[in-house]
């Protein structure tokens, strides 16, 4: 399928942005395979539009409406791109395809929100959403063990640590209706060099997408699934078994090294983050006048406490009531 009609408007925009020479040189590259999928010029224009949208969407000292326009631009670019690479699958609705589009849309939108949300707690929560959507993509690729590991390790362990640190080191909550920049620290509310960063980032994205779709037809199609004999439970292998077999036969040393790395990281984190207690001259422990001196074991013995009113040292001088 050639470039679909919605891209024509963006071709017009692209011809305004880029000189005709650049466009001509780009257009001359197109061959059969490329036009069969997606033209690199379209990828370039979409990346430029998305970059402009991201620059406007990144936190800064600007109006909310300005950021909304940026979000809309980014959304338009993000909707056009799947519209170009979408190829209907022979009339019937493909279940895997539907789930792929849903999960990848959630993952990418949440990733954009991680980057553009001014408040760190919300960034962390959107990252949890990204993790769950990626786990869905993993399951779509029949990697159910990795999906479970991703959810447990990322959403369960790493993100909890992040949220703890954010709570430990964040300022007061933002009242409703006030702009976030008024309460948040300046380092949260204003981003650093959004223009250059978006240029570099979307250039990288454009190159990656171009290469991926340029070489799309060289990639091997999925080889047929290995047939599984369901009547014999011994032969059924999930990915957990397969990954375990691979790890313990081919990657034994790497696995041990990974364990050592985790141990070292744990020890290192404790050593780095512990609170140092200084026992210097100014902090030296001085007993105050009200405090009784520390009892020696001799003093602590009940038999050695002086007793008044009786001569028997084992008898209490005062009744305890």
């Amino acid at each position: 399928m050639a470039a679909v009609p919605p891209s024509t408007g963006f071709f017009a925009l692209g011809s305004m942005v880029f000189s005709p020479a650049v466009l001509a040189s780009v257009a001359s590259v197109t061959d059969e395979r490329l036009t069969a999928y997606i033209s690199p010029a379209v990828v370039l224009v979409l990346c430029v539009v998305a970059g402009i949208g991201t620059i406007m969407l990144l936190p800064g000292k600007r109006e909310i409406a300005f950021r909304r326009i940026g979000g809309a631009l980014l959304g338009v670019a993000g909707l056009l791109f799947p519209a170009m690479i979408y190829r209907p699958g022979g009339g019937h609705l493909d279940a895997a395809g539907v789930y792929f589009w849903i999960f990848s849309a959630i993952a990418i939108v949440a990733a954009v929100r991680v980057v553009t949300h001014p408040r760190p707690v919300y960034s962390a929560l959107y990252f949890v959403l990204t993790v769950f959507a990626s786990a869905g993509l993993f399951i779509l690729m029949y990697a159910e063990f990795m999906a479970a590991a991703l959810v447990i390790i990322y959403a369960g362990a790493i993100l909890i640590t992040y949220v703890f640190v954010i709570m430990l080191a964040s300022s007061a909550s933002v009242p409703e209706g006030k702009p976030a920049a008024a309460v948040l620290g300046e380092y949260d509310a204003v981003s650093r060099e959004p223009f250059i960063a978006c240029c570099v980032g979307f250039a990288l994205m454009g190159v990656l997408l171009f290469v991926i779709f340029d070489r799309a037809h060289d990639l091997r199609p999925p080889s047929p699934e290995p047939t599984v004999d369901l009547s014999n439970p011994e032969t059924i292998q999930g990915t957990a078994q397969s990954v375990g077999n691979y790890l313990f036969t081919n990657q034994m040393v790497s696995l041990e090294v990974a364990g050592v790395i985790l141990t070292i990281a744990m020890v290192g984190a404790i050593v780095i983050a512990r609170r140092r207690v200084m026992i210097g001259a100014e902090d030296a422990f001085e007993p105050s006048a009200e405090m009784s001196p520390i009892l020696t074991p001799q003093d602590d013995s009940p038999a050695s406490v002086p007793v008044y009113g009786t001569r028997n040292p084992r008898q209490k001088g005062h009744p305890e009531t």
């Binding site: 980057v115 760190p120 990252f127 991703l150 080191a169 980032g201 994205m205 991926i212 999925p222 990281a265």
Partner: protein, 102 residues
Amino acid sequence: MTTIELQHFLAVGAIMFAIGMIGFVTRRNLIVMFLCTELMFQGVAISLIAFSRYNHDMAGQAFVIFVLVIAAAEAALALGLIVLLFRTKNTLDADAWREMKG
């Protein structure tokens, strides 16, 4: 054959990697910067699993396990460092550490 092929998954991974990189450069909060590195890890993991699936080779999934190990170690160390830095200067601004000795 399904309409979803290898390059679709690779595209998702590439987009997430680029978004994470933009975030790492633009955000100034130390915690969010490290969240963005986790985003980049996610993009790489999706690509690895996709290759593993389409070549029927377990090496990709095994590599994702190592990526997760490194991500966990990095998160532990980075968050420890962030706590230490926050105690010293009482801010999470990466620019507060502009001048460093050594």
